[in-house]
Subunit: 314 residues, 2 copies
């Protein structure tokens, strides 16, 4: 029996710092309802979807702590979970997690159509810096505000109603690191879901990569890693001008051949959908990318033995 | 001082089994001269450039052995090396290697403008099978005819006249395996050169991947791995209808942003060129892909511990 999963990417426009949590959640519920109305079974939201991208500022104390969630769901997010369960729709969503022990992570969860959390993931590839850059209007302080993810790359099964796909989750910058995709693919991953907040330009005016090039990079990473790992991929932006700093859009759904089958056209709240035939992954997994037949791990040891690049001796 | 290297991809049309070695070499010298006439300093030829792609047949004895080179250069290839040295041009070329000990490898070398071999590489990711497929008109017997490359992924310096780039070499199928690019990038690789012979369709009529999709896959792998490893990439085909089996073209030169800057338009002998600003790799290597700052090798252990995919427990 064919395993066709109707997936939606729920791209979000910007969440301004002045927006209320309730107003942002109402937009997310509207996107969820729109996707469900079109038959979506799984809706993918962005990274840190409930708030503005706060690592762009140097914050402390209560001003910083307000962005973290001590539980998920919690009173400020419960309505999304309730509505999804009513509609029988699952979702992926990113948020800032604070544990009972006081640890902080950049986290995502995938929730099943029954409202249960299928799997949590904590972002491994944190960009930015610990110390603020002197004189910069905008920071990128993910390495200050979050600890490195400590769960590895845990693949999991989606529910039978989705065709029980082996799924993986990444967050933003992770999607540019082929190691992350590969560890999931080595667990048989068939469907990757990814939320992101990616700068459209250097908000401090420092470089030459424009919005078009950055969107190209984002889609290139999704397309190639979907191809090279023989999986479907759904990558979803928070986009547009958020508190004076631009974020790319370019949310897309990619097939196991690396082709974009659905793509957001705006920088605002926008739902795109695709029917993902999960068995299309078999062409790649059984032939070109039959790992058991063709990988040569004895030649890859440098990947785990070395962190930074070391040039050869002259 | 800027480091600008003018690189040519010397795509070759098909080498028929009936073609003489001398006729093929004359075509290669003509491509070399055409590239040198346009100022190329490095000319990249395809995989197994001196012959037809013989792993498509089940052969044995002298009929098979004729395709291997016991030395490189040798009397049948010396004229290419001599002409390149006269012109002061370096080149990459692929060939079937037979060692003094009787080992066989699918091999490539890069030769400097002074005629010296800068580095040899032996293909790690051999596709195909050891045993012939019963009833098939065309085989893919690389695993039968070659041993797995035993040199790892040895990065090396190009000569000072090229700006002393850190270079890497891959062969055909290797380019689809992100591990191979990453091991080179962990040695600071700035310029990757790759020759290939890639099927344009299943010559036995077995599948649905057409020539356009296969060319897209080839370029997607080159573009994304150049971007994710912050390097230039030159990937070069033997193309066209070779002995009744189709090969894709699509040779291209890719910048460190993953953009194609030059691309072959035919399936025949064709030279394309680009001026590669080697310092463009620094944007990626110092920021987004600063490996020392951002890689998390402790999370990648599955890449070397596992060969095939193993699904999670239910």
């Amino acid at each position: 029996m064919p395993r066709i999963l109707r997936v939606a990417a729920a791209q979000m426009g910007p969440n301004q710092r002045a927006d209320s949590r309730a107003a942002i959640l109402a937009r997310m519920i509207a996107l969820l309802e729109q996707a469900a109305g079109q038959g979506a079974q799984l809706v993918v939201f962005p990274e840190l979807a409930f708030t503005t991208f706060f690592p762009r500022w140097l914050l402390e104390g209560a001003e910083l702590e307000q962005y973290y969630e001590a539980a998920m769901p919690n009173p400020e997010t419960q309505a999304l979970f309730d509505r999804a369960k009513e509609l029988g729709v699952g979702f992926y969503v990113g948020y800032a997690e604070k544990t009972a022990e006081g640890q902080h992570f950049n986290t995502a969860i995938t929730v099943g159509p029954d409202g249960s959390v299928l799997q949590k993931y904590r972002k491994v590839h944190l960009p930015g810096s610990v110390e603020p850059r002197a004189g910069a209007t905008f920071q990128q302080l993910e390495k200050r505000y979050f600890e490195y993810g400590d769960m590895g790359f845990p693949a999991f099964y989606g529910p039978d109603a989705w065709g029980a796909p082996v799924m993986g989750q990444l967050i933003c910058n992770d999607r540019r690191w082929p190691e992350a995709w590969r560890v999931y693919a080595l667990q048989g991953m068939e469907l990757m879901v990814v939320g992101y907040n990616s700068a459209a330009y250097d908000p401090n005016g420092g470089d030459s990569e424009d919005q078009g090039l950055r969107t190209f990079h984002s889609q290139l990473a999704a397309q190639s890693n979907a191809y090279m790992n023989a999986c479907w991929a759904v990558t979803v932006a928070k986009a547009g001008d958020e508190d004076g700093s631009g974020l790319i859009g370019g949310s897309c759904i990619v097939d196991p051949n690396g082709r974009i089958v659905a793509e957001a056209k705006t920088l605002g709240d926008e739902v795109i959908l695709a029917d993902c035939d999960l068995d299309l992954v078999q062409q790649g997994k059984q032939k070109m990318f039959n790992f058991a037949a063709h990988r040569r791990p004895d030649m890859y040891s440098m990947i785990t033995e070395r962190t930074g690049a070391e040039p050869p001796k002259r």
